[in-house]
Symmetry: C2
Subunit: 281 residues, 2 copies
């Protein structure tokens, strides 16, 4: 997509920087009181932070971005990436003290961007669009933004084709989830899929083999042969998947020490995706 | 060890509860201003939080514990575990408001315990004490307490025999690291092993085969056959292991998507330990 953006713009048009010296400048209103906006929500906008995430977004064409705010000190190390942005994306530059006053805390990373979340296609449509060999992550009630971000990071690292979320899952575009995902939650195709039952029906209807992770799983992860259309279902932190889901699904476990059978769900997703992925493992 | 504690005490001696109604009560000084103490350090003491961690500690005999502080509301659900404690460990009980005033924030878990970190044996001694089939985790410069806790949780879940830390690693007994480890950092045998070079020498001298994790690793994780005495070395967040370490060691990588080769180090440890563990995977 980076090539698309480059093709639509003369490569030599210089990057225009907009200096900001007043924390109350209305042009940077989206960046004001970052943590309070985390709580009240950003109405379809997301906030991305840091060099690695912004590089990922610009490498994907930056077409979702509304604007960027960087500190003067951070500008030199990110300028080459900003140069890839479409020229209609304003790049604001502020001194560290002004930037801190805008966001409401000391923002040592010095790099922020606001974008618009892509409209999601319905889960059945997303699943139908995937290739004959495909790997899907399905999530039931993941409530913690660290875990959500970690799962998306793993999904991107192991080349999962999509992540489906049931209606009880938290928002993968919450600021902290984006940060923990290192931006993956902005690039991996995602759909809300209704209730867990509706999500499972959509997965089955699209011809995916579903495995559900549980410490009480009847098979071991290593028993599963990667291939075809596969989906792995992970349950909420603590209680895990409900009994009725486990009763109606092929269940797998990860063998653990008898005295300490406790894995974080994001780590579990990494282990499962490493086994099922097509990245060559 | 739970049986040891039981054997040394009459099982029927009732649990003595010490009511606390004054936040300034000197008997609960160790619990005062919890977050400030995180910063200044606890001089060899650790603070454990929550039901799961306290159950783990009591199941291990509770011999490292100095005292416990629980809220009245939390007492009923933890009383059976507290009953396993040696009777010389005082159990303080406070109302939620008093407990909040003691610790300095709203402590919704309502369960805290202070203990003394066990004296560490030197790394060579710890390694020599391990069986002929053994799995060791070696850490270079892990700086983030979440990652440290996550690695210990994985070490416990996959039955690793020990964790070695170089001198640049953060403290696995920091309050947050204990919490994220779900208590594992209190029970997995651990040693500080000096510089990374000294740590690697101790591992080699004890007859362990060492593999170092790196995205540029020359072999794949799946090429490694589990067995014998093995150690896996993980490097600091971001830069990873330094070139001189990678040049002198057998290096392995986890295959990832070309466009997103980024895994969290705790997740990486989970994937590696799942492959190498003796828990039956």
């Amino acid at each position: 997509m980076s090539s698309l953006a480059t093709a639509s713009l003369p490569a030599h048009e210089p990057l225009r920087l907009i200096p900001v010296s007043d924390p109350d400048d209305p042009r940077i209103a989206d960046y004001r009181d970052v943590r309070e906006r985390d709580l009240v929500g950003r109405r379809g906008l997301f906030m991305a932070e840091g060099e690695v995430v912004l590089r990922l977004l610009t490498a994907h064409g930056g077409r979702d971005l509304h604007s960027v705010l960087v500190s003067q000190a951070s500008l030199p190390r990110i300028a080459d990436a900003l140069d890839l942005l479409p020229r209609n994306v304003p790049v604001h530059v502020a001194g560290q003290a002004v930037m801190d006053a805008i966001v409401g805390f000391h923002i040592h990373r010095g790099i922020l961007a606001v974008g618009r979340a892509r409209p999601q296609v319905p889960a059945p449509e997303l699943l139908a669009s995937l290739p004959e060999r495909a790997l899907v992550v399905a999530l039931q009630g993941i409530a913690n933004h660290d875990n959500m971000g970690g799962i998306f990071r793993n999904a991107a690292a192991f080349g999962a084709d999509a992540v489906l979320l049931d209606s009880a899952c938290c928002d993968p575009l919450y600021r902290k989830a984006i940060r923990v995902s290192v931006g993956a939650s902005l690039i991996v195709p995602t759909a809300r899929a209704g209730t867990t039952a509706e999500m499972m029906e959509a997965i089955a209807a699209a011809g995916f083999d579903l495995v559900a992770l549980s410490p009480s799983g009847r098979e071991r992860l290593s028993d599963i042969v990667p291939g075809g259309r596969q989906a792995a279902l992970f349950g909420t932190e603590g209680p895990g998947l409900p009994p009725e889901v486990l009763a109606s699904t092929r269940t797998i476990s990860i063998p653990m020490a008898a005295s300490f059978d406790s894995l974080n769900v994001a780590t579990t997703s990494g282990i499962v995706l490493h086994h099922l992925s097509r990245t060559g493992g």
